[in-house]
């Protein structure tokens, strides 16, 4: 009698496949956006491992569980109070207006894998708040994650499991996990279909991923109809419908087998239309891939192409005439893939000069259009003259990388 119904707020989700999204992030935080998203994923996974629930991250504006970092009075009857005091809250499934809303105090010093004195462990608080989102009330048990007081870090997010009381309480609402059922990770999409394998899952050591909403881009390529954005050691992938496969970037070297893990960044990537090989350029070297495995004998020097030893800024390849254009500073080269040599007269002064800030970061050719990327902006170029069309530049983050709402830092800030 003591425990029956006591831990439950009385209502539960009727659906079992629940979407989630981090809608806003703290303005000034030790933790990067990608770390916050990863910790959210693992905090939800704690609950999905004990129940038949699955959680998947969505990029649109609406999600069943929406996470926000807010300050002071944010008009929900539970104002925050700066550092300390109230650190977070979440609304029960029965709340008609606010079910699934999870609020963290943006003024807390949110930490991960830090000693207790250094701040408030985001993972510990997130597991607690998602317990509320799923219908659990506070628990008097000192061992329960649903105890209302913050008790410090609970351990490694990849290893953490619910205590028996918490497991019993959540299973009273949703039942037990189905034997043999597989937890749906947020990097996976049931509908995803592609010629290439899924990006790798999150590394164990939670590196600071580049933020797709505030990063410049090193290289962009269209490969087998999908668009790849490269930044540092990572890439984002857009499917044929131009939807991100995952909001989290994947490690390039783990996906493109044979690309060195020590490679800091790539300068240019393109698919060669003569044989559909994929070429990566980084500094003085280039690699040729068949699908996602490197061909024997690579890397080789970019001077093979007649390019300068220092490498290139960008490249794109035209499917129509099977020519590839390389860009470096104010110069451009035209390489004839069919015969394997540079056009006579290369290099020439690029048509981009004077129209766009140079050097460009990346170039991309679609079936009938060319794009140039610089900083956090891009331009659509007229196909033959390479002059920018009207209405550009536009935001890379907003138009390509599924960043909605306010982009942080603001576009006027330095890249």
């Amino acid at each position: 009698r003591k425990s029956r119904g006591r831990r439950s707020a009385g209502l539960a989700w009727t659906k079992r496949n629940i979407s989630w999204k981090v809608k806003t992030y703290p303005r000034e935080a030790r933790l990067g956006r990608e770390t916050i998203r990863a910790l959210t994923h693992y905090a939800l996974k704690v609950w999905s491992e004990a129940t038949p629930l699955t959680f998947h991250e969505v990029g649109g504006s609406s999600a069943d569980v929406s996470v926000e970092f807010l300050r002071l009075d944010h008009q929900d009857g539970y104002p925050f109070d700066g550092p300390g005091g109230m650190v977070a809250h979440a609304f029960f499934p029965g709340d008609p207006q606010r079910a699934g809303h999870v609020h963290f105090d943006s003024d807390e010093d949110w930490t991960f894998r830090s000693p207790d004195d250094y701040g408030t462990d985001l993972f510990a608080v997130a597991v607690h708040e998602f317990g509320h989102s799923l219908g659990l009330a506070h628990s008097p048990s000192k061992r329960s994650i649903m105890r209302p007081y913050y008790q410090g870090p609970v351990g490694d997010p990849l290893q953490y499991q619910l205590q028996a009381d918490d497991r019993t309480d959540i299973q009273r609402l949703y039942g037990m996990a189905r034997p043999g059922s597989r937890v749906l990770h947020s990097t996976e999409k049931p509908e995803a279909s592609s010629l290439l394998p899924d990006p790798p899952s999150l590394p164990r050591d939670f590196p600071e991923f580049p933020d797709r909403c505030s990063s410049s881009i090193d290289a962009v390529a269209q490969i087998r109809g999908e668009t790849f954005f490269f930044k540092g050691q990572y890439f984002w992938r857009l499917t044929h419908g131009q939807h991100l496969t995952s909001l989290r970037p994947a490690l390039s070297a783990a996906f493109w087998r044979g690309l060195p893990r020590s490679l800091g960044k790539v300068d240019a990537v393109y698919e060669r239309h003569t044989d559909h090989r994929i070429l990566f350029f980084s500094g003085p070297l280039y690699w040729v891939f068949k699908d996602n495995g490197v061909e024997e004998g690579y890397p080789r020097p970019v001077t093979d192409f007649g390019l300068p030893q220092g490498g290139v800024d960008a490249a794109f390849s035209w499917p129509h005439d099977r020519k590839t254009f390389f860009f470096k500073g104010g110069l451009q080269w035209c390489y004839e893939e069919a015969v394997g040599r540079m056009d006579e007269g290369s290099p020439t002064h690029t048509a981009l000069g004077g129209q766009l800030p140079t050097p460009v970061d990346a170039m991309l050719s679609g079936s009938d259009e060319v794009y140039a990327f610089k900083g956090r902006q891009y331009w659509k170029l007229e196909r033959h003259s390479l002059k920018p069309e009207k209405g550009y530049p536009r935001s890379i983050a907003r138009d390509w990388l599924d960043c909605t709402g306010e982009l942080y830092p603001p576009p006027s800030a330095p890249t």
Binding site: A9, G10, Y78, F80, G84, G85, M86, V87, A88, H89, A90, E108, T120, V125, H128, E129, H132, A137, H138, P140, K142, P148, Y149, Y150
Partner: protein
């Protein structure tokens, strides 16, 4: 015994805390911020019982330490829900 008494200024923070987290009903609008000593003592006991510290009924050091501990904003004691019979009668 339920005579309302003013809450001493140095204890108003604890009373607000007890009210916020569901141990003490909101102050009667007629009597303003007045609470009965019995209600406050009972609320402190309830809070101590929930938190697993000795039930002294007074805001001792252990209790005050908990009140100062960072925590979730949601109440520990949820408002009672109307039972089905009442709804049916209405």
């Amino acid at each position: 015994s339920a005579r309302p008494v003013p809450t001493p200024a140095d204890e108003s923070g604890e009373v607000a805390w007890l009210t916020q987290y569901g141990y003490l009903p909101p102050a009667n609008p007629v009597t303003g911020q007045l609470q009965t000593w019995e209600a406050v003592t009972s609320a402190i006991r309830g809070m101590q019982r929930f938190a697993g510290v000795p039930e002294t009924g007074i805001p001792d050091d252990a209790t005050l330490a908990l009140i100062r501990t960072p925590r979730c904003s949601l109440p520990d004691v949820l408002p009672a829900r109307k039972n089905g019979r009442q709804w049916r009668k209405r």
